[in-house]
Structure formats: structure tokens, C-alpha cells
């Protein structure tokens, strides 16, 4: 009786270790190293998410020239048509090489949603601008009184003739100050269930009646805005899908983010930076005990990240070939943000006295170390947002409780 024969690999990451995938990885890595402008790389390595429009556009166009822009898009719409495995490796290499994040609102969210719900005319009008990096989008979902409870949004779109007339405001609009267009959810009916009566609209931010108010974060960056609508007119054809049926489209759009919510690649890069900082910044080679303690915490974070990565791959690439991720993916976002925040906390603590200082220009011998140290508190502060936005970690736990555990 020989029942046990096949040598299966238990190591789920082995799928990225074929000769083909190795070659692809090497190609991406080399390309990033050779083509990513240094001034952009440096900002990303500072963990900045408030990259100026020019930087994002410049890098997007470099990728576009290579055929790699919009890595999640099929060839049909000008994307590279990557397999899921390729896309996973591609985004890993970009993160490890300190390249900017792919532009989430246009290419990550709206593009695929238009592919799924848009008319042919909408596809032709919208997708090329995103693909070429010429049109920047932002998302108008949250409102001052509709955060985690998104469906309670109240920003109104009244139908008047062949137009919607918008009144109200949208809150926490990331990149609202550098975007050309906004897609968003607007209330077109108030009579039924709050999830009904929501319409998905796209609008030109240059339309009369729009005011964008910057909202500074407490560490000083400008990433988000409040966008006010005062009788803003939007043509009917800028609606996506059916009137009043925007909620389903929004749910589809929000489900697209299965790649990258765990932020494993970026956390690996952050952890590597932390390790090299600790190694480099100690001119006196003293306080070994303290180094031991840091070493332990680094090791713990490495292990946590390892567990998260394997879990992500297990979830993303299921054995039966079904690459649909269910609600269990919420845990990737929860753990991903928790680990990322812990990395930044440790990086700040390791920077010691340097971490006290706010950003400043300086030259001189140890300017680099000073700079890295002074950069260290910013991401600790700034990344608190990640456990709040895109469905707070409390909401994610509610989702798992309900949809996975049946509570």
C-alpha cells in the first residue's frame, strides 16, 4: 500500500520561485533601479504618501512607456495584462524599490469599475486619461457624518432636466487638491432604505460651485480635503450604472483592493530601512544591551510580517484556482496596518534624540542620519490614519465577525 507519494510544497510562496517568475522579478527590479528618479525615490523612502502630482505623473508615464502602467488592467484597455502572480510580484518589486504606489483612485478603483459598469462611451471617454496618467481622480464617498457608516451619506444630487444639481460636501477627500475629476456617491432619493437612493456620479472638479478646502493633518501634511458643492451641475451621462443603484457599484469598487491592503511589501521595505538605520547610526558602538532589545523587536516584526505574507498568499491564491477573496481579507487590512504602525513606532524610538526634531533643511556631515532620524516620527503620526480610513479596523472586525464567523 503506497498512499503517500507526492512531494507537495507546503511553502505557499514557492509559486513565485519558478524560473519564469524569477526572470520577471529581476526585470522589474532592474527597471525600477534604473528608471525611478532619485528625488522621487527619496520621498517614497521617507514613507510619504503626499507625493506631488508631478512626481506621480512622471513615474506613471515612465511605467506607461514600458507598458506597465495600470498593472491590474487587462491588455484590452492598455494594461500589461499581468497574471495575478505577476501582478503580485510586480507590486512587490515596486514597493521594495521605493517606487510610488500605483494611483489608487483612477487606475485602482474607477478604471476597473468603469470596465464593469460603464457604457462603451464612458469607457472610451474615461479610461485613456487614466492609462496615460493625464487625468487624476479622487473619491467622494465619506461625509462629515458618514464615515464608517457610509450608507448614511446625505450629499444631495437633485435631478433637474438633463442634469444633476449637487449640494452638500464630501469629507476626507484624498488628493482632492491635485485631482481633475471626482467620482462619488450622492443621494438621489431619501424615501427608502438608506442604501437605496444613492447614485454613482463622476464630475469635473473645475465645474462652477465647487470649493476645495484643505484639511491639514496634525503632523502638517496636506493629503485630504473637504469638497463643497454649491449647486454644481453634472450632466446625466456622468452617472455610472443605474440611478439610485450606486451602492452596489461602490461595494464592487471597494472590493477591488485585494492586492496590497496588507502592505507587506512596503512594510518589508520600511523594516529594511529601519535595520540599516540602526546599523549605521551608532557611531560609538555602545549600548549593546539596547541593540539587543531592538534586535528582538525587529525579529518579532519580521515574524509577524512573515505570518501576514503567507496568510495573504494563502488567501489570494486559493488551491481551487478561485482567486476571489472573501470577507476574511479584512484581516489583511487589520494586521497590515497594525504591523506597519508598529514598524514606524520602532523606527521612531530607534532614532532617539533625532526623532524629536521636525523636518528641516540641513547640510553637513551627518545630515543624512539627522534627516532620517527626523523623518522617523512623521510616518508614526501620519500612518495612524491607515487604521481609520478605508473602513476602520473596527469596521473590518465587524465584517469578519458577521461575514466570516456568523456572529
Amino acid at each position: 500500500m503506497k498512499i503517500f507519494q507526492r512531494e507537495d510544497s507546503l511553502e505557499v510562496r514557492h509559486r513565485f520561485e519558478t524560473a519564469e517568475m524569477r526572470a520577471f522579478r529581476a526585470e522589474v527590479r532592474t527597471f525600477v533601479r534604473d528608471h525611478l528618479p532619485e528625488e522621487i525615490r527619496r520621498k517614497v523612502a521617507q514613507e510619504r504618501m503626499d507625493l506631488p502630482r508631478e512626481d506621480q505623473q512622471r513615474w506613471h508615464k515612465i511605467l506607461r512607456a514600458k507598458g506597465w502602467a495600470c498593472p491590474g488592467w487587462p491588455k484590452e484597455y492598455g494594461g500589461p495584462g499581468f497574471s495575478d502572480d505577476q501582478r503580485y510580484v510586480f507590486e512587490r518589486e515596486l514597493a521594495l524599490g521605493d517606487a510610488p504606489r500605483p494611483m489608487i483612485y483612477g487606475e485602482g478603483m474607477l478604471g476597473p469599475t468603469v470596465m464593469a459598469y460603464g457604457t462603451e462611451a464612458q469607457k472610451e471617454r474615461i479610461l485613456p486619461g487614466i492609462l496615460e496618467g493625464d487625468v487624476f481622480w479622487c473619491q467622494g464617498f465619506s461625509e462629515p457624518n458618514a464615515g464608517s457608516d457610509l450608507a448614511s451619506l446625505q450629499c444631495k444630487a437633485e435631478r433637474v432636466g438633463d442634469q444633476y444639481v449637487l449640494n452638500g460636501s464630501k469629507m476626507w477627500t484624498s488628493e482632492g487638491h491635485i485631482a481633475d475629476w471626482m467620482f462619488g456617491l450622492f443621494r438621489t432619493d431619501n424615501t427608502g432604505r438608506k442604501q437605496d437612493g444613492i447614485t454613482f456620479l463622476m464630475l469635473d472638479l473645475k465645474s462652477p460651485g465647487i470649493t476645495v478646502r484643505p484639511i491639514l493633518l496634525f503632523e502638517g501634511t496636506h493629503e485630504v480635503n473637504q469638497v463643497f458643492f454649491d449647486n454644481v451641475r453634472v450632466p446625466l451621462e456622468n452617472g455610472l450604472g443605474d440611478e439610485h443603484k450606486g451602492w452596489a457599484i461602490a461595494k464592487y469598487l471597494l472590493s477591488l483592493e485585494r492586492f496590497g491592503t496588507a502592505e507587506v511589501s512596503r512594510s518589508l521595505a520600511s523594516l529594511a530601512r529601519l535595520k540599516s538605520f540602526v546599523r549605521d547610526q551608532d557611531p560609538f558602538r555602545h549600548a549593546l544591551e539596547q541593540k539587543d532589545a531592538i534586535e528582538r523587536r525587529v525579529a518579532e516584526l519580521e515574524m509577524e510580517l512573515d505570518a501576514l505574507e503567507i496568510t495573504e498568499v494563502r488567501f489570494l491564491f486559493k488551491q481551487d484556482g478561485a482567486n476571489e477573496v472573501g470577507p476574511e481579507a479584512s484581516m489583511l487590512k487589520v494586521r497590515g496596518t497594525e504591523i506597519q504602525q508598529d514598524i514606524f513606532e520602532l523606527a521612531m524610538v530607534c532614532a532617539g534624540g533625532y526623532a524629536l526634531g521636525a523636518r528641516r533643511d540641513e547640510s553637513g556631515a551627518d545630515a543624512a542620519a539627522t534627516q532620517r532620524g527626523q523623518d522617523s516620527a512623521y510616518p508614526y503620526f501620519n500612518f495612524r490614519k491607515t487604521a481609520i480610513y478605508a473602513g476602520s479596523n473596527e469596521i473590518q472586525r465587524n465584517i469578519i465577525a458577521k461575514a466570516v464567523l456568523g456572529l
Partner: protein, 378 residues
Amino acid sequence: MLPTFTDEQRLLKESLERFRQQDYSFEKRKGLLAKLGSKDDPVWAQFAELGWLAATLPEDYGGLGGSHADLALLMEQFGRGLVTSPFVPTVVIGATAVRLAGSEAQKAAILPGIAEGRTKLALAYLEAPGQLDPSIVATRVRSDGDHFIITGNKIAALYANVADHLLVSARMFGQLGDHQGISLFIIPANAKGLAIGAYRTHDDGWAADLHFDQVHVPAEALVGSAGSALDTVEASLDAGAAAICAEAVGAMWCLHDMTLDYIKVRKQFGATIGSFQAIQHRMVNMYMKCQLAQSMALAGIAALDSSDPVVRRRAVSAAKVQVGRAARHVGEEAVQLHGGIAMTDEYAAGHYFKRLTMIRLMFGDEEYHLRRYCALSR
């Protein structure tokens, strides 16, 4: 737990599930524990009959040539069923040591017996309670003509009292903690001069403290080359550690499921306690710990195949740390969310918690493995 299943693995999994549900229910287990490890232990006989003892052994020695995926599968199901046996000391640790370092004659003498259920092994390596490193060997061995003479003490040797043969590490030269100078011997359990003080462990298994008083063993008892057995001992312990990590994952999922079921029906203040958000979020945290521990256990077992011992050690240590911490969290929370009922002997949860706690302590606790991982990262 496994990312892929072959047809054979599906069959194996079914037989394991059938066993733990039909033959090893929590009610039946109590009676079966009385015979644990004895000559007529019906559980061990059933293991042999179902091919589980042979599953992962090499085909040349009566085994079925299974992979580490099969080991993971077996261990996870043992964990789910709270299946208590000398499987790990015999089939995982003992057989690994013999496979890695044994002579042809030793392999031929030992491995088929394991596969058939005739032979049980135990490894005696631990000497001081808080000294978990296998290089801490004060037990001495010296040559005496064509014999070796072993003198010293070992503690907490799992199932040493029910084993037919003991694998014993002893120092031939060098100082305590030296990596060189340690030899490994395989000796019969009834060797003259060997005193075995057996006791039950908290998880209803067995362990023993051993006293070697001038125990004479023949030259053929040496496993591998003299003075350089530490790698073999470490590799065998890593196999054992990875195996019990997979077992722990099974036990954790079982506790997870029990707790989830319980909070869905247990009412307080007119509502099921599972409807309270604080309980829900803690249940979610348990769920996440189980998932993450499962990932690490997979990676730990997978690394047993690695040809690079550093890769293996790092992965096993990472698994033991993460699984151990998760085991504590899940075990404690399972008891707490149940409340009083889980404190009782008649309810299974407490017994799973005890097993998970023993797994944490076996083959290096989280602190030991975190240190080992750090040392390997330098």
C-alpha cells in the same frame, strides 16, 4: 490547513477525521489514556494499522515515503482531536535522528519496527529545567575498551518510560555549551544502571527523568560520528517542534470552533454573549491568531525540507514563537469567553488549553526560539 491536497492526502485526512470522531471522542479518550504507551495500547495499534506510523518513513525501511505535507496533515488532525500518543518522540524526533545519522544497520533495526508499531523511541536531551539549549550537556560519556560508559541525568524526556529505545546525548569532550563534543547513543530502555522516574504530564502524556549510573553501552550504540551529534539533535528537535506547531494549530482551531459555537448559544442578560461587540472583536482576534499561526506552522514544516540548516532553524524558530504566542492567546481567551464551564474537568476546552500550554514549553519556549532567531539573523 494544507494549501493543496493530493487524492491520497484526502484519504488520509478522512481516515484521521473518522478516527478522532468515532474512536477518539472526548468521552472515549479518558478510558484510552489509561493504556497510553503500554504494550497493548489500542490507539498505537490502530495507528500502525491505518499506516500512520509508516506514513512519513522512507520506503526502503518499511515506510510509505510520505512528505512533510503528510506530517502536517497528521499533526493538525491529532491537534484537533487532542490525540495523545508517543507519535512525536517516536516517529518524528526519534526516526529523524536515526534517518539522519544512523548506520544502515541501525536504520534497518529501528525504522521498520516503528512503521509496524513494534518500536517506540524517546530522546533524552534536556538536563536543567531552564536550559533549553541542547548544547547544555553535562552528562558524560567515556570509552572503555569496546564500550562506552554514560553517567549523568536527563529530565523531562517525553515518553521515555514507554520507549523501547532511548536516544541519549552525552558529552565526550569539551565544556558545557560547546557545540562540539556531544555524541548520540541509542540504548535499550532496560539498560543496566539506567533509572527511569516516570510521571504524567499536564496534558495526560508521560515524561521521565533519567539517571545514568555508569551505563555500559556497546560501540554499535553510537549514532553518527563521535562528538558531533549536535546537528542531528537540533534537526530532530526542529522536526519535533515543527510537528507540534502543526498540532497546536489544529488544537487552536478546535478551541476557536468550540468557543464560537458556545458564544452563539450562551445567553446572559437576555442575549447571546456572541451578540456583544466586545466579545465579537475578541473572537475575531482569536480567528486572526489561528490564521496567522497556521501560516507560520506551514512555513515551519516546509522548512524541514531545506538543505540549509540556517533556513530551517529560522523558520522553525519563527513558527515556534508565533504559534506559542498564539497558543497562549487562543487558549486563555477560549477559557475566558466560555467562563466557568471551561474551567471544569468534564469540558474539553481546559484540556486543549493544557495541551497547548505544554506545546509552548516543549522543545524550546518562545523566549528560547526568539533568541535563536535573533542569533541566526546576525
